[in-house]
C-alpha cells in the first residue's frame, strides 16, 4: 500500500449514475486485478473504497455508481482535480490460480474489476469468457470494452430489455470456475452454480488497510478482513452466514 496523489484526467457518465474516472499518477503499488483504492474526499471524514477497473504505468481507471454523499462528490470532480488516495489495497484476484477457461461474472457496478482481470488473464495466455448482469438495457456499460478485448461476452438483464432475460447466474455453465464481483445476493447465486472460483466482496470500511476490524467476515478458514485479507475470497472458504 502507498499513499499517493492523483490528478483526475477524465470523469464522465457511462450509464445512469455510473461514472468512469481516469486518474493519472503512480500505479506501482497495484499488484493484482481486483485490488482497490481508498479515496480521500473534501468534506468527508472516511475515505471511499473503489475497485480499480484497469491500470497502466501512467494511471488507473475506476468506475463507480453514485449511491451516497461520497460518490456524489466524486461525480462532481472536474479534470485537473487532485486526489489523495491509498493505492494497492486488498489481495485482488489470483490470475495464476485461474484455469485456462474461467468465467468472469459481474453484476452492475461489480463489473469494473473484471475488466482488469480479463486483460491480465489474456496476457497470461488464458481464455476467459465474460457474463454481465444488469437491471435493464440502459444501465449496461463496458460490454463493448470487454468485446474489444476479443473475449466472448454475454449479457443478461432482469427486465429482458437486452441480452437474456434473467440474472447473470443464468449465463454461467453449471460447475464452472467463476471469478465474480457484484452484490452479495448475486455472489451467493453464482457460488451455488459454480464449482470453484474467486469471489470479490464489498463492505463499508473504516480504514481499508486492515487496522480497524470494521469489515471482518467469518470464513471457513477463520475471520477475514474484507479490506486486507480480501476483498477476493476463495470459493472454498466462503460462509454465507457471515451477514
Amino acid at each position: 500500500m502507498k499513499q499517493n496523489r492523483y490528478t483526475v484526467t477524465a470523469n464522465r457518465a457511462l450509464a445512469p449514475n455510473v461514472y468512469r474516472m481516469d486518474l493519472a499518477g503512480d500505479t506501482a503499488p497495484i499488484t493484482a486485478p481486483g485490488q482497490f483504492i481508498n479515496l480521500a474526499l473534501d468534506g468527508l471524514f472516511l475515505r471511499r473504497p473503489i475497485s480499480v477497473c484497469d491500470w497502466d504505468e501512467q494511471g488507473l481507471v475506476i468506475i463507480y455508481k453514485v449511491v451516497g454523499k461520497g460518490t456524489a462528490r466524486m461525480a462532481e470532480l472536474q479534470p485537473g482535480a487532485s486526489l489523495d488516495a491509498l493505492v494497492g489495497l486488498g489481495n485482488g484476484y489470483d490470475v495464476d490460480a485461474c484455469p485456462v477457461h474461467p468465467v468472469l461474472a459481474g453484476g452492475g457496478v461489480g463489473v469494473p474489476p473484471l475488466y482488469g482481470l480479463a486483460k491480465r488473464l489474456l496476457a497470461a495466455g488464458k481464455k476467459p469468457s465474460v457474463a454481465l448482469g444488469f437491471n435493464t438495457a440502459r444501465e449496461i456499460f463496458y460490454d463493448m470494452q470487454f468485446a474489444a478485448l476479443g473475449v466472448p461476452v454475454t449479457v443478461a438483464t432482469v427486465d429482458g430489455t437486452a441480452g437474456k432475460k434473467g440474472f447473470v447466474t443464468d449465463l454461467i455453465p453449471e460447475g464452472a470456475y467463476v471469478c465474480a464481483c457484484g452484490p452479495e445476493p448475486m455472489l451467493k447465486a453464482v457460488h451455488a452454480r459454480a464449482s470453484a472460483g474467486q469471489f470479490s466482496f464489498e463492505a463499508r470500511m473504516g480504514c481499508g488497510f486492515g487496522a480497524c476490524m470494521g469489515c471482518t467476515c467469518q470464513t471457513v478458514t477463520g475471520y477475514k478482513r474484507i479490506c486486507k485479507d480480501g476483498p477476493v475470497l476463495e470459493y472454498e472458504e466462503i460462509l454465507w452466514s457471515h451477514e
Partner: protein, 305 residues
C-alpha cells in the same frame, strides 16, 4: 531542540503520542508503512479473555467530521495475543506497549490482566470499562462509580503493572467515575472512549450500523473530550491520557494544556495511516511556535479566566 519527552506512570516516553486502541491493530499494518519506534507507545486492539468475532456488518458509518463504529471488540483472545501478537510487537516496537483489556465480568478483567502481567513487552494495562458496542459488559462497568472501582481493585490485585482505567464519556459526571477509579488504586486514567451515536439510512429507513448504535469519534468529539480531560485532570491526582479527535500536533498541545500527561490518537489513524508519524514530526516546530521548551511542563497549564 524542544524536549518532547514525557513520563507516564514511571515509564519515560520519547513523546506523548500514542495510537489509540482499535485504530492500530497490533501494530503490524503500520510497521509496514513506517518505523513505529518514533511513537511514544501504542495501545493495542482491545483484548478479552476469550476470542470474539465482534458485531455483524456494517460496523462503520460516516459522521460530520468523524465516524461511528461498532466493531464489538473483535479480537483473538488474550492467549493468542500473548502467543502470536506480543512476540511480533517486540520485533517491530522496542519500547513498552500498552495492553488494552476488556471484559464481561470483574473476574474476566482480572484474569485477562493476570495473564498479561508476565509479558515483558507490556508497560501498562489500559482497562476499557467504556466500550459502547457490546451488551452486558464494557460500558456498564464504566457508568457506575462502584462498578468502576470494583474492576479497578480486581485488576490492581491481579497485576504489578501500572493500571490505566479507560473512561466512558456517556455519563452525567465523568469526574465521579474518575475519582472512584483513583480511590480504588488506579495508576492513571485515559479518556474519552467514543460517544454513543446513531445514523439512519434514508433509503432503507434502517440504522446504517447493524448494531443500531455505534461510538462517535474523530475531530467532531475533540472539544467534548478536551472538556472532560480538563474536568478529570482537576479532580484527580493521577496522570490522565487525553484522547478524542486528536489529529494534529496542535491538538496534542491543547490536550496537554487541559491536563493530559500523554495523548492518544484514534480515528485519525484510519483515514491517514501516517497521522501519528505526521504528528510526532510536527511537534517540535509547533512547540517552538508556542514557546514550549519542555513538553511535560505544560500539562494542566491552561490559564483560568
Amino acid at each position: 531542540m524542544p524536549d518532547t519527552r514525557v513520563s507516564l506512570c514511571g515509564i519515560e516516553l520519547p513523546n506523548p503520542v500514542i495510537p489509540a486502541s482499535g485504530t492500530f491493530g497490533y501494530g503490524r499494518e503500520f510497521a509496514e508503512l513506517y518505523d513505529i519506534n518514533i511513537l511514544g507507545s501504542f495501545s493495542f486492539k482491545g483484548t478479552t479473555l476469550h476470542p470474539r468475532l465482534g458485531n455483524p456488518l456494517p460496523r462503520i458509518a460516516e459522521a460530520p467530521s468523524g465516524m461511528l463504529n461498532a466493531v464489538g471488540l473483535q479480537n483473538p483472545g488474550v492467549d493468542r495475543v500473548i502467543a502470536e501478537e506480543l512476540p511480533n510487537i517486540q520485533r517491530i516496537f522496542h519500547r513498552p506497549v500498552m495492553a488494552n483489556v476488556s471484559g464481561f465480568s470483574v473476574e474476566e478483567y482480572a484474569e485477562t490482566c493476570a495473564r498479561l502481567d508476565g509479558c515483558e513487552a507490556v508497560g501498562w494495562l489500559e482497562v476499557n470499562i467504556s466500550c459502547p458496542n457490546v451488551h452486558h459488559g464494557g460500558m456498564s462497568f464504566g457508568t457506575d462509580p462502584a462498578c468502576a472501582a470494583e474492576v479497578t481493585r480486581a485488576v490492581k490485585a491481579a497485576t504489578t503493572k501500572p493500571v490505566i482505567m479507560k473512561l466512558s464519556p456517556n455519563v452525567t459526571d465523568i469526574t465521579a467515575i474518575a475519582k472512584a477509579c483513583a480511590d480504588a488504586g488506579a495508576d492513571g486514567l485515559s479518556l474519552i472512549n467514543t460517544l454513543l451515536g446513531m445514523r439512519i439510512d434514508l433509503r432503507t429507513r434502517r440504522p446504517v450500523i447493524a448494531n443500531t448504535t455505534g461510538g462517535l469519534s474523530g475531530p467532531a468529539v475533540f472539544p467534548v473530550a478536551l472538556r472532560m480531560v480538563w474536568q478529570v485532570a482537576r479532580a484527580v491526582d493521577i496522570p490522565v491520557i487525553g484522547m478524542g479527535g486528536v489529529s494534529t500536533a496542535e491538538d496534542v498541545i491543547e490536550m496537554m494544556l487541559a491536563g493530559a500527561t500523554a495523548v492518544e490518537v484514534g480515528a485519525a489513524n484510519l483515514v491517514d495511516p501516517f497521522a501519528c508519524k505526521r504528528i510526532v514530526e510536527a511537534l517540535p516546530a509547533v512547540m517552538d511556535k508556542y514557546g514550549i521548551h519542555k513538553l511535560s511542563e505544560i500539562t494542566g497549564g491552561v490559564h483560568h479566566g
